[in-house]
Symmetry: C2
Amino acid sequence: MSETKIIDPWGSSKIENYKHVFSKFGLKEFESYNIINNYLFNRKIIIAQRDFDKIEQCIQNKKPFSQLTGIASSGSYHLGHKLDIDFYLIFKKLGAKSKFVISDIDAYISREDYKVPNLDKSKEYALDNLMDLLALGVDKDDIYLQSNQKPQYYTLSYEISKKITENMFRAIYGHSDYGKLGSVLLQIADILHIQLPNEFGKSPTITGIGIEQDPHARITRDISKRCNYDFETPSFFYFQHQSGLKEGKKMSSSEPDTAIFLNDTSDEVKRKINKSFTGGRITLEEQKEKGGQPQICKIYEIFKFHNADDEFLNQTFNKCKNGELLCGECKKNCVSFLNKFLKEHQNKKEKFKQTALEIINK
Amino acid sequence: MSETKIIDPWGSSKIENYKHVFSKFGLKEFESYNIINNYLFNRKIIIAQRDFDKIEQCIQNKKPFSQLTGIASSGSYHLGHKLDIDFYLIFKKLGAKSKFVISDIDAYISREDYKVPNLDKSKEYALDNLMDLLALGVDKDDIYLQSNQKPQYYTLSYEISKKITENMFRAIYGHSDYGKLGSVLLQIADILHIQLPNEFGKSPTITGIGIEQDPHARITRDISKRCNYDFETPSFFYFQHQSGLKEGKKMSSSEPDTAIFLNDTSDEVKRKINKSFTGGRITLEEQKEKGGQPQICKIYEIFKFHNADDEFLNQTFNKCKNGELLCGECKKNCVSFLNKFLKEHQNKKEKFKQTALEIINK
């Protein structure tokens, strides 16, 4: 089985060869960077799409469209999750009727027990995740938990079970694991149910995902055409994942030192940033002479994904390249940038505990 | 694959060799006929059990126990369904905290589209089924639809998905059909969820099923021991199915002339009974001489399963055996017995339409 025949959305490998995957699976390059003036668009963090034209037209013609985004509650949020949420907030601002799902059932049933031993554990994570979401500006009325939905949502997920054969599932995912099947049924229902008449109704919908989630996108689009409901085929955009702090690693909740978590203390941030991989040279002399390599630097990547200040980013890039800015100083800048953001965020977050509890116990 | 290696709960074949199946799958003979003085117990319609001792002890010691019974809404109810409901009402009377599920999601996802093309169709059947249930005396507060449940019920069904492997499912059912898997997840959740703390709580539970449903019983009992909840292993009793009106056939919704439906008109009943298979001899002379064969007669079977009058049943048996009662007269008795019951039932049923609609739209 070749690397690109099956994309494994539950795996942790980083997909390096984007373009090859694009052509293999029929993804199109993303080109609609001018729909909003936002640093994540200007910096081309989105790399691919399926049917994004429909969404662009809705935005341009002020026609209704909807979005569904979600994250499984299988741990604390890190900066990688913040990116999902940033995109969610951008499309909300662009006019999308929006729902954000905390996939707590998914978190339990699609993961090994040692990661999420039971639903109580994923609800514990959900509470913390909810506080992050609210503090980052997600509207409380737009958030739901998979375990706390209307009957029609679950009913739809079971109706979908009739539309998937084992062969189809194996062809897409390479296995027939029933827990993961369950999580796929719920994920499809998450995206499709927002088009039900008593939700947002039929309309183009947009969901932003990492490229390794494309199997879910493909099966969701396929099912949307074969349901007993009149659904618009969902659109997707695919964004680059921020890589981990260590060389060649993805940010991963199960390897805490690969990521900055929204719960990290200022000391943890300092420690992790100081240890993280940069584009610096072996000796100071070499770096002053040849300059650094921001294009492979994890510190530069943090700024690129999270610091909206274009001037600062450009300066950092240029000063690094010409050997003026050394890694020590740059890391110091990064620590203070992150700790300023995290301090404010964590202060805000505490105030949302009550609201978060209300959403969970609703 | 031998006939008894895999029992197919979705098949329509009648299982003839009960005892062989018992020993193969570890069922025990039912012996607790004295727990109630009721014609269905006196006539030994229940033939097997798993863990019924627990239930008998609860009844004798007036300790709490619960029951869950259900029927898929895939057509109109016939006399075979009435038997399920009769048993349900007996255990309710014996003190069981009771829930009756109308399996409308199951009806759609586990059946071919030509039988139940969509959920709307199974809800249409559900309305008619509900009116029957209410008219037969099932308490409206005890009934729920699968598509109209609390989130915790669906969540439990998905938690169960993690506990079943494809190999396990194949070993029990002989296939890995995802629609049928979905229906199994819901059926397990139906039986187990009544033990959740905010339902009836942990207690012995009883469910009455036909012997061909034993695969569901086995997987439910297995899962109950491996869930993240403290469940008592569910008990089951197995009753004989009333056979179809034609020789060698099961009562089947898809072959209307094999069954008397609770919606049948008096003319339909007359026509079906007159056409049905009896234990009569080829000639009148032969029958007067040798007597009839009530033990293979469909008319006698109707009386055995539905006429509580023991004296009438014994007389019918004896008069048939000694050639005194001929098939024509016996069929006339049966038509008038059924039509009296159905007329009363259908009159009652109409009055429950509003209540039935309320349950569906709750």
